[in-house]
Structures are given as structure tokens and as C-alpha cells.
């Protein structure tokens, strides 16, 4: 096993994020209570997702520039792990929302309709749908080179369209979600100092874990496709 410095730091940071995240003091807010600790997990998932998608599109651009099939495999793996992080972000968000947003007099599914109209949720849904479509596109092109090229083009096109939608939609719809203008939790006024000392390491840790999983998938794919990858050289 290749254990490099960043993998060790991923483990250390995540142990700190889990232990510190559950034990260190947090501000007491009546609406949030102890669920505020979910910040260390929920928001980090979205950060990790966006960073992994960004790596994926960089790999796609590299593929288009060089025609090296390895970049295509990397782009696909990072997109896959990014999608997984996004699903986890939804899961942690759903737990959080059921404590804060959902109407206690109604069952959780009755509030679903109003919760799903949240602009942040729409933005996240668009991101996940785009990468869902990306994988369907990949599976429906049979030729290897063409698959790599077509999916790289779609990746770049969709990613470039995703950002305007994340900026535009929150300004069109009303929202309960924190961080109406811009990025929640990045703003220095949003977040208490006591939380920042756990939050930033947690973001880094989860992102590194995502990258670690991706590199494992990439190495596995390289072995599976070794004939193709090695011909390449």
C-alpha cells in the first residue's frame, strides 16, 4: 500500500473531525441545539463534491488536450466519487432538515414538497443529475475513444453551465437555507471561532478521503484496462 503524507494527514484530520466534532464545545443556539455539529459532516460533503467535480473537469480538459486515455479514466473516477459525496451530502442534509425545518406536527414526508424547493437543494440536484447523465452518456457510447471524447466534452459543457445555475437560482427563489448570498460557512461572520477550528480541518480531511478513494479506483481501473493504458506509452 502506498501510504504517502497526505493519506496519513487524511486519517489524522478525520479522526480529529469525528472526535473533536462530537466533543469540542459549540455555540448554543435554540433552533439548532446539538445538531449544529452536523456542519462538520454535511457542509464538508458538498465541499468535497465540488472539489472532486472540479478535479474531474480538469482531467477532462487534459484528455481533450492530450488524447491520453488515462485522463479519461481519472475524470470518470473523480466524477463517480464526487457523486457519492453528493449523495452523502443529501443524506446528512435530510437528517439535519428533519430536526430543523420539518414541521413537527406533520410527518417528514409531508414537508418534502416545500423542502425540495430550496435553491441550494435544486443546485445540488442539478449537479447530481448532470453527473448521472454523464455516466449514462458514457455507457451509451461503445467506441472507446469516442466515449472518452464525447463524455469529456459533456463534462466541460455541463460544468460550465452548472456554476451560473448555482449563482442564479438562489437569487430567484426564497430560501430558509443559511448562506443566502454566496457560500454558507465560508463567510467569516457565519461561523463561530470554536467551530472553525474543527470545520476547516474537517473539510480538508473529507476532501482528502474522497481523493484517496478516487486514486484507489483509478489504480484498479488502470489494472483492469492495463492493455489499453500500457499501449498508450
Amino acid at each position: 500500500m502506498k501510504l504517502t503524507w497526505w493519506k496519513i494527514s487524511a486519517v489524522v484530520l478525520l479522526v480529529y473531525a469525528v472526535v473533536g466534532g462530537l466533543l469540542l464545545p459549540v455555540p448554543e443556539l435554540s433552533q439548532l441545539g446539538e445538531t449544529i455539529r452536523n456542519l462538520y459532516y454535511h457542509v464538508c460533503m458538498w465541499f468535497a463534491m465540488m472539489i472532486l467535480f472540479t478535479i474531474s473537469i480538469i482531467q477532462s480538459i487534459k484528455y481533450l488536450r492530450t488524447g491520453d486515455i488515462r485522463h479519461d479514466i481519472k475524470a470518470m473516477s473523480y466524477a463517480g466519487v464526487g457523486t457519492y459525496m453528493g449523495l452523502l451530502g443529501y443524506a446528512t442534509g435530510a437528517i439535519w432538515a428533519s430536526f430543523t425545518w420539518a414541521d413537527p406536527n406533520n410527518p417528514a414526508y409531508a414537508s418534502f414538497g416545500s423542502i425540495m424547493r430550496e435553491p441550494k437543494l435544486i443546485g445540488a440536484a442539478i449537479a447530481l443529475l448532470i453527473y448521472g447523465a454523464y455516466f449514462i452518456l458514457r455507457s451509451s457510447v461503445t467506441d472507446l475513444d469516442q466515449r472518452a471524447r464525447v463524455s469529456a466534452v459533456y463534462n466541460v459543457f455541463a460544468y460550465a453551465m452548472l456554476f451560473p445555475s448555482i449563482w442564479i437560482i438562489p437569487r430567484l427563489l426564497p430560501s430558509l437555507h443559511p448562506g443566502q448570498e454566496g457560500n454558507p460557512a465560508l463567510n467569516f461572520n457565519d461561523i463561530d471561532t470554536r467551530m472553525r477550528i474543527v470545520f476547516y480541518p474537517a473539510v480538508l480531511g473529507w476532501t482528502l478521503l474522497g481523493a484517496w478513494i478516487s486514486t484507489l479506483i483509478i489504480r484498479y481501473k488502470f489494472i483492469v484496462e492495463s492493455k489499453i493504458v500500457n499501449n498508450e506509452k
Partner: protein, 241 residues
Amino acid sequence: MEKKISMKPAAETALIPKEITLDAIKQYKALLKKEFLLEARQQHTLYGVMLYIASTVFVIYLTMGSPEAETWNALFWITQLFICINAVAKSFLQEAKGRMLYYYSITSPVIFILSKLTYNIILMVAMGVINLMLFAAFMGNPTSSFFLFMGIGVLGSIGLGLIFTMLAAIASKALQQASLMAILGFPLVIPQLLLLARLSKAAFSEIFRDGVPIQLVLLILALDIMIVLLSVILYPFLWKD
């Protein structure tokens, strides 16, 4: 058998026409003329789309009667979206492989995609106007300013036509093209549709704050420009088989 893996997409050379010469403009005009000629010769596809519009609107009319303004607006944009998928899909799907090879030998990808974009804008604006007429004829006219709504409809048709042209180009390389186009396109058109649905409330005599409608129009136009730029940059990579 040695499988050839890396074909360097030699798009760098073809990315930008050497210079915007008269030659490029002439090629662009010729390609655009070809699209219209094809449409005139193969009229069944155009009539097919029109019939699609008519039957969709008729089904909505039968199920909804005369809906309220908000529902009318939402239904209009959803029909417009589906018309777009059907109308624009054929622009690349009808190009046979041999013909693409022929284009490849006579023109540059940038000119080719620009002519496709222009043609699809014109087609979508025409279809949008037909759609709007049918909506007004069957389901009444809840707008307070019909021509303002028509202007917004034209603006929206341009944006939808642009975005789905590029997606048709992508989908034409894959299997099950038509359904794939919808899957690829829906997440990307959500912001545009939200902007348009919001903007069209201006034609239903909803009061906006000063300058907001202009801002929305500028946003939509900025999105359109971005789509054109992305198509021009990315299409050369798709072009080569």
C-alpha cells in the same frame, strides 16, 4: 489485432478559422442555405414537428380546459421545452455519417456549428410563435400584454435552441439519441427555464422592482452568449470521428 487507442484530437488546428475571411462568411451562408433547402425538400420532418405541437396543445386543452395564468405559463414553457427537444434533435440525427465526412473535407467545425446554431434559433423561434398562437387559440390569453409575452417567448426559444443544438451534437455520437438528449439537457436548462418563467410574469402584469426585468433579460442573454462560446470551443473536439 493492434487496437489504435490514441487519436490525438487534432482540434487545435481547426479551432479557429485562420482568419475571418470572406471565404468563411461564404461557407457559413452556404451551409445555412443548405439547412433551409433540406427543410424545403424534406418537409415531412417540419410538418411532423408542427403536428407534435398541435397535438400536445390539444391534449393539454382537453385535460385542462382554460387554466389560470400561472398554470398557463408553466405549461407553455414545458411544451416549449419538449418541442425544442423534438425539433432540434433532428438537426444532427439526420446527418448521415458519409455526409459528415463530406462536411469535414470542405469546411471548419466552427463555421459548421455556427450555421447549425443559427438555423436552430430560427427554427425554434418559428415553432415558439406557432406554439404560442395555438396556446392562445385553445386556452385563451391570460396575458396582459400578448406582444411582450411573445418577445419573451422568442428570447426563450433562442436560448433553448442554442443549448439543445450542442446537446444534439453530443447525443448524436451515442446510442438511443433522442432520449439521451432529454437526459443530458434537463439539468442544464433548469436555470434558463426558471429565469424565463420568472421573466414572463412581467407579461402577466406582475409588478417588478425597477430594473429587475432588464436584469433577467441580460442574464438570459449572457447565458446564451456563454453557450455559443462553449459550443465554438468544444464542437471541434466532437467533430472528428
